[in-house]
């Protein structure tokens, strides 16, 4: 799986350790990337997350490459590639979808279409705003699903996985969703508002995927008590993760040169003269 700057939830879905994710957000040494990656770059190779790209569109070729490798090695792995509506305007999207289609690669391109890239709406940045039909141009199926509907997303993804494993190649799924907060928390944009307060409010009120799914489960006979217990369990897990992060130490400055290379040419990967601030090594 590859993610984006917004992929805080995806690693949780893949089963990454909550405490290590939280510690990473805090820049701690116990973080999933040892405090080197941070908020926009949560990767956990142990559960199959190879990277989350801060460069918009940066992960799309990587996911395609993982699928390429899976195919060549004859593995049944399927690559899952998350990106936003803004990212589909990067060349990497078009070039990757073409190769994936050409070589029938086992990859799912999952566009989280929240309607905006920072403050620019899809209408203001796409000549043709139906993202799913771009798939047609590359000869792969493209499906639009309600991204606030957990089961709809699951079903679309499951179908794409089956297709990929059967050698049918890639699928583009566009999950329509919404950003409840600003692009990043606390971001203030000058000038006239780019979206209406009513729009935001309506989405939060009526289209919260967790609340929607809760209602579905209740309707199907789940008890209020079991759901509340589950929510309490999650709250407790998050609390513990925060506690873990707070208790963890920051990385020691001496470890700054770590992880530049997997096989350091010398001494932690960085020659002495290049390690420090000053050219004489001091």
């Amino acid at each position: 799986m590859t993610g984006t700057h917004r992929s805080h939830g995806h690693p949780i879905g893949k089963g990454a350790r909550l405490d290590a994710l939280m510690a990473e957000l805090m820049g701690k040494v116990s973080g999933i990337c040892k405090g080197r990656g941070g908020s926009m770059h949560l990767a956990d190779q142990s559960v199959g997350i190879i990277s989350e790209s801060g460069i918009v569109g940066g992960g799309i070729p990587l996911a395609t490459g993982c699928a390429f490798s899976a195919k060549l090695r004859g593995s049944d792995q399927v690559s899952l590639c998350f990106f936003g509506d803004g990212a589909v305007n990067q060349g990497t999207f078009h070039e990757s979808l073409n190769m994936a289609s050409l070589w029938k690669l086992p990859v799912i391109y999952l566009c989280e279409n929240n309607g905006y890239a920072m403050i620019t709406s899809v209408a203001e940045s796409h000549g043709q705003p139906d993202i799913a039909i771009r798939a047609t141009g590359y000869g792969m199926p493209g499906a639009t699903v309600d991204g606030q509907d957990v089961r709809a997303v699951f079903e679309a993804a499951a179908q794409a996985v089956t297709r990929a494993r059967a050698g049918g190649g890639p699928t583009l799924i566009v999950a329509n969703t919404y950003r409840f907060d600003e692009h990043n928390v606390g971001l203030i944009t000058p000038g006239p508002p780019y979206r209406s307060a009513d729009e935001v409010e309506a989405f939060i009120r009526d289209r919260d995927p967790i609340r929607l799914y809760r209602a579905v489960l209740l309707g199907e006979g789940a008890s209020e008590r079991s759901l509340s217990a589950m929510e309490e369990e999650v709250r407790e897990a998050v609390k513990q993760a925060v506690e873990f992060g707070l208790q963890s130490p920051m990385p020691h400055p001496k470890t700054l040169p770590h992880f530049i290379f997997s096989s350091p040419p010398s001494n932690d990967g960085v020659s002495d003269t290049h390690k420090g601030i000053c050219s004489n090594g001091a």
Partner: protein, 333 residues
Amino acid sequence: MEPDVRSDAAMAHTHVRMSYLDALVQAQLEEMDRDQRVVLLGEDVAAHGVTRLIERFGKSRIWSTPISEGSFTGLGIGAAINGLRPIVDLAGASFVYLASDQIINQASKLQYMTGGQIDIPIVFRCCMYCLGSEAAQHADRPYPLFMNVPGLKIISPTSAADIKGLMKSAIRDGDPVLVFEDTRLWPVVGDVPVDPNHLIPIGQADVKREGRDVTVVAIAGAILPTMEAVDALGKESISVEVIDPRTLKPLDDRTIMTSVAKTGRLVIVENAHRVCNVGSEIAAVIAEQAFHFLKRPILRLSAPDIHVPFSPSLEKDFYPTKDHIVAAVRRLI
């Protein structure tokens, strides 16, 4: 930073106090007023402090682009070839990598490869972020890479007056100019000439502080800790001359050499990574052409050859600080 020392009364009509960012916007506003061919392209332009420009010039001159750096940069280059004078705002300097093929393989080369038939009057804005846990994909300072490319001019002004004068020169220039702004300079306030023809020539360094003992060349955002260090050293009666090249390409070697001839000691401070950075170039030029003036070895302070870490504990001392600069200068005395 030290404000310009001129009499208040004399400056009242000729200058106005404003921030670096306001001066940058003012430069664009004046040039867009002056020349209809100047247009602005970039992502989320309204989010990046140019609301004033949008209000004044509207959407026919200010274009909010899709997230397509490679191609909107190329589109800007094409438009420049065909009669416009675009300012392409690439926002974060780390995104310039996506645009770099068009900048390097097209913009920098077409004048040459067409035997001088094609002019490319275009400006690329690249903002450098640091010390805010941006992590390695949002915090690069890639100007040394572009210095290695013929056909590009590169500016990195550090004061409000300088960014105004140099940005205006860049917009009026007939060739591709890259502007590298350290975003920590945005709020720095200074006296800025109101004259709409206040231009600072590309390729001219400025002596930001005169001194006798040591020459410190400070690049872009490194001017901030440098000035703090110089103030502290002044209290120990160590007199430092501070030079801001303002333009990284072409470098004003003369001004640096003149200073080194006086002090015999040179420290270069910058935030780019160590290997093949501006300091390497300046050190080489001084070693080649002014070796006889040097009383001590040249020292370079820079970011190490390591990616920018996310964790605040690692980023804190990642770039040269006041203490690093003080220590380096003392070592040469």
